[in-house]
């Protein structure tokens, strides 16, 4: 069992937790947190699995840096929307059913 594999496994669990969180939680901020956990999980799998033999691999590392920037962009966007919704409706949750 190598460092890479350990963190890849942790990443797999993190991803699962994150997806479940985004789908099941109500509070928008918490869903955004869950999304970030999901992202971190994927990044760990990406680098950890690639480095399961123990050698560092710059390619997935660079991909993860790209991924982190994309994730922060998505997070900021989500927060902006959530805050706007809060301003307009006074709540941090989505309405239960989409209105027709």
């Amino acid at each position: 069992m190598t460092t890479g594999l350990i963190f890849a496994c942790a990443g797999a669990i993190l991803f699962t937790m994150g997806v479940a969180g985004v789908m099941l939680l109500d509070h928008l901020l918490r869903r955004i947190l869950a999304f970030n956990l999901m992202g971190s999980g994927v990044f760990l799998v990406l680098v950890g699995l690639a480095q399961r033999a123990g050698n560092p691999d710059p390619v997935p590392q660079a991909m993860v840096i790209t991924g982190i920037v994309v994730a922060v962009a998505a997070t900021a966007l989500a927060l902006a929307l959530a805050r706007r919704l809060f301003t307009l409706s006074g709540g941090y949750t989505l309405p239960e059913t989409p209105d027709d």
Partner: protein, 83 residues
């Protein structure tokens, strides 16, 4: 079991624990703090994975900026400041 392996396992466990608390803790402010802790633990994990570039990026962007953004949003939520 070597020390490295033990440290890795412990770190992974802490990661998962902080992630779980982030989602499960009832107070949203604490959740964000736990998320920042999670981010710092991630930084350690990246260092263990011999990825110092990611560690730097994670510390600055992942934990730092995202944490600040979330805290700011909570400030709005708590009504401490005008949105």
């Amino acid at each position: 079991m070597s020390a490295d392996l033990a440290f890795d396992l412990l770190l992974a466990a802490s990661l998962l624990w902080s992630a779980w608390r982030t989602l499960a803790t009832p107070d949203i402010f604490r959740a964000v703090i736990l998320f920042i802790v999670f981010g710092l633990l991630m930084t350690l994990a990246w260092a263990r994975l011999s990825a110092p570039d990611i560690a730097l990026a994670e510390a600055a962007i992942g934990a730092g900026l995202t944490g600040a953004l979330l805290l700011d949003a909570i400030g709005v939520l708590r009504g401490r400041k005008q949105p």
